[in-house]
């Protein structure tokens, strides 16, 4: 038992020594694994940012219901009741023509235009907030509201909802493509690294077999190597992603005032970082496992 523990410690130390002995090759490997991990992780972070933005935008799908110019108080109340009774409607807000004009005059460039108006050309309107950002629901309600009496026009932002939906789907497709590709690349890199190590230590493995080393004893250092490479690669990936986000944020800061909003990208939180490290260790171990299963068998004790 003590000897077994001693061997675990020893083979871990040996793995470290071995990595330190060829620092250039090790660095290249770590970079390769790091890059392979950094890309899907970075894409995940960006998508997270994008979805939080899109959430803010699309959480409030709205229909604007414009009333006819000659609608009386009673008509307005009737329409409001019908709107509130419709399924899939969360809130109904009345915007009087006066309020709308004030709002319009606040829009950049319209100020002067509004000031030059002799009388208010805008109609009364309702802003209807939908319960869900579902393009089909928006379409259905648009048709339904249009047919109400004294309703002149219904302006749906379902086109926007649809646009955003399609864009996000596009983004998700891209991230899935990227993850699949880089998953493959990651497997290739770790698998080949362990293969290289096995070939380099061929003589040692043959000899250990001959001397009475168990299968577990021979495989152990390779598992350590794979996991360690995974860990280092994970650290490299985190460094790369954090550095990239910082650089991007520097550029975004210049962009933010133009949109009048806080466009800073959120950095990954500690749990996400830990998960990345853990999964990179697991992937490294897996690469080692596949490679060991495939390549150790071919080594016979002696020719």
């Amino acid at each position: 038992m003590r000897a077994w523990l001693q061997h675990h410690v020893l083979s871990f130390a040996q793995t470290l020594v071995r990595l330190a002995r060829s620092p250039f090759a090790t660095a290249l490997n770590v970079v390769a694994i790091g890059v392979a991990l950094a890309l899907p992780f970075g894409a995940y972070c960006l998508l997270g940012n994008l979805e939080s933005v899109s959430h803010r935008i699309s959480v409030e799908p709205e229909l604007s219901v414009f009333l006819a110019g000659d609608a009386a108080k009673a008509d307005i109340a009737a329409v409001e009741a019908r709107l509130k009774a419709a399924g899939g409607v969360r809130a109904v807000r009345f915007v009087s023509r006066e309020a709308a004009l004030v709002e319009l005059s606040r829009t950049a460039g319209m100020e002067e235009v509004v000031a030059s108006l002799r009388r208010n050309p805008l109609p009364d309107a309702f802003v209807v907030t939908l319960a869900a950002s579902d393009p089909a629901l928006a379409d259905r309600l648009e048709l339904q509201f249009k047919s109400l009496s004294k309703v002149a026009h219904v302006q749906a932002d379902s086109a926007w909802v649809r646009r955003l939906d399609a864009l996000l789907r596009l983004g998700r497709t891209a991230v899935i493509l990227l993850s699949a590709l880089l998953g493959l690349a990651l497997v290739a890199v770790t698998f080949n690294t362990i293969r290289l190590q096995i070939l380099t230590q061929r003589d040692e493995i043959e000899l250990c077999r001959l001397i009475g080393a168990t299968h577990a004893y021979i495989r152990r250092p390779f598992f350590y190597l794979g996991s360690l490479l995974g860990l280092l690669g994970g650290v490299a990936a985190l460094t790369i992603v954090l550095a990239a986000l910082v650089v991007l944020n520097r550029d975004l800061v210049q962009l933010a005032p133009l949109y009048g909003s806080d466009l800073r990208l959120r950095l990954p939180n500690p749990e996400e970082m830990l998960a990345t490290l853990a999964s990179s260790v697991v992937l490294g171990w897996l690469g080692a496992y596949l490679s060991v299963s495939r390549h150790l068998l071919g080594i016979d004790p002696i020719r």
Partner: protein
């Protein structure tokens, strides 16, 4: 009971060549004997069957009471821990010192370090390499490397010692010393089986001789 026993063992290599044909013999515990024969007679093949490096195509190989010819792969390492092996073309590890090479069998079987180091030094001393313990094996001459292989084979005090041409690249003086070492081991109860084509050596030591000719035991 015999510590090694072959009964009607035959070995055909892939390709069809029959390296051993119906070989039967028994070795008593504590015996020392020679295995000889022309080049290609099957000496190395016979030793490989004992160490479970190759499997026979027919017959039974018993070592230490275990049926090696039908052994599970996971049991083989534990069989080999009772064997000391010196093979032709066996490799030293050139990424560590002479001392670490001699330590390897003890490290692999998980011996405590201090006792292991003591035994490794004792083995290196016996083959005259103690003062080179910190050197890299690349820097050893052919004969010195051969002696290091012998030290590595005896360091874990095996019950059976199998050696394939252990004196092949040694001059007479060192060859005698190595043979003395094997004999000393034999005297404390180790079974020793040496394959060699050196008739002089066989003549000098007067032990039982197994003679192979084209895969048959004469």
């Amino acid at each position: 009971m015999a510590i090694i026993s072959f009964s009607q063992v035959s070995k055909r290599y892939p390709g069809g060549f029959e390296a051993l044909k119906a070989v039967s013999f028994a070795v008593e515990p504590g015996e020392m004997l020679f295995l000889t024969g022309h080049s290609g007679a099957g000496k190395t093949t016979l030793l490989k069957l004992i160490a479970a490096i190759e499997r026979p195509n027919g017959g039974t190989v018993l070592v230490n009471g275990q049926n090696v010819s039908a052994m599970r792969a996971s049991a083989i390492p534990y069989l080999r821990r009772h064997l000391g092996l010196v093979f032709q073309g066996q490799k030293l590890l050139y990424d560590r010192s002479v001392f670490d090479n001699a330590m390897l069998p003890l490290v692999v079987t998980g011996q405590p370090y201090r006792e292991a180091a003591r035994r490794a030094r004792a083995a290196l001393d016996k083959v005259g390499l103690l003062e080179r313990e910190k050197a890299n094996p690349v820097t050893l001459s052919g004969g010195e490397q051969q002696r290091l292989c012998v030290a590595r084979a005896v360091v874990n005090r095996p019950a059976i010692l199998l050696a394939d041409e252990p004196t092949a690249s040694l001059d007479a003086a060192y060859a005698d010393e190595i043979m003395e070492m094997f004999s000393a081991f034999n005297q404390v109860g180790v079974t020793v089986l040496l394959a060699t084509h050196d008739q002089q050596l066989i003549g000098k030591w007067r032990k039982r001789v197994l003679m192979l000719y084209r895969g048959k035991l004469l």
